[in-house]
């Protein structure tokens, strides 16, 4: 479809011409996002599986590595992310009801909490660099299992890094939503972009819900 026509479609009539009705269009967009999220489940699932395998093999080293993580900052970040999921759910509700101002407010709050999360993650990363716990040439730890602790930190940076990347993309998507909400593009009949972005945001929250106990909690007693 020509870009200009698509823009017109979203302003004049929310229904794209290839759908029977709004109901079908809504169902299709939600289902499409879920299909993408299923591929994301498998994408992160591979890392989770590998982590589980290695935590059973190198239990002692992973426990030692886990003790070097900042449990307080990790817990605070979990609460921040859960809070952002709540504000996102409220943003979707505001869009469903066609309330522009609450929608803008909740979107800004969600973006803010998302940025707080990324910021705290940045502080944690900085500490790891200062403590020479980043895998590579400068990794240094006085431990008989230092090599395998390095392996733990490889998992830590790969998994939290990919998660943080998803957060950055999420904040980008929210920026796009914010611009369109500002111009009043969303209405009770056309809100699926907000809802579908919400699904993505909640999924990234769920990934962290599993990352947090695995990296910060479980490995401590492995």
């Amino acid at each position: 479809m020509h870009p200009r026509r698509r823009k017109l479609a979203s302003i004049d009539s929310p229904l794209q011409h290839h759908f029977v009705g709004l109901e079908q269009q809504h169902e299709a967009s939600t289902l499409g996002m879920w299909v993408f999220l299923v591929t994301e489940i498998m994408f992160f699932g591979g890392l989770f599986t590998l982590f589980t395998v290695y935590v059973t093999i190198h239990a002692e080293a992973f426990a030692e590595g886990s003790k070097h993580l900042d449990l307080l900052l990790g817990s605070v970040n979990t609460a921040v992310l859960i809070g952002s999921s709540f504000t996102m759910a409220m943003a979707v509700k505001s869009a469903q009801l066609g309330q522009r101002k609450p929608l803008l407010g909740f979107l800004v709050l969600t973006m803010f909490l998302g940025c707080v999360f990324i910021g705290i993650k940045g502080i944690e990363y900085t500490h790891k660099f200062e403590q020479h716990l980043v895998p590579g040439r400068n990794f240094h730890l006085d431990s008989p299992v230092a090599q395998n602790v390095q392996l733990f930190f490889s998992f830590y940076f790969a998994m939290t890094g990919l998660h943080a990347l998803h957060m950055v993309i999420g904040v980008g998507v929210l920026t796009w939503l914010l611009v369109h909400s500002w111009h009043g593009r969303f209405s009770p009949t056309y809100f699926w972009p907000v809802e579908v972005s919400g699904l993505y945001w909640h999924f990234v929250d769920i990934v962290w819900i599993f990352l947090f106990p695995l990296l910060y909690l479980v490995a401590r007693h492995a």
């Binding site: 009801l97 106990p213 909690l217």
Partner: protein, 111 residues
Amino acid sequence: MTHTIVPTRIYVQVFAALLVLTALTVAASFFDLGGGRLHYVNAVVALTIAVSKATLVVLYFMHVRWSSRMIWVFVGAGVFWLLILIGLTLSDVLTRQWIPALPPWGLGLKP
């Protein structure tokens, strides 16, 4: 429109439950629940809480509770395939030491 508008009260309750569960899982990590042969109890507790939290998010924040059967099938398929991935992999890794006669073919059998 037939979309379910979820009452704010439910969102607040789910939010509160998620925070309580987070506090619970952090608190539980300070105790050595099993020890010795039951060293996996801590992991079971933490993962049970994580699965409960994820279920709350999927059902309420992601509206799956009020979604069509088609969505249920897709979500279920994702979880099912993830369980295959983890389950079949662990069925290999965790059972290797059950047969001591086998040669130490890597994967942690050497220090």
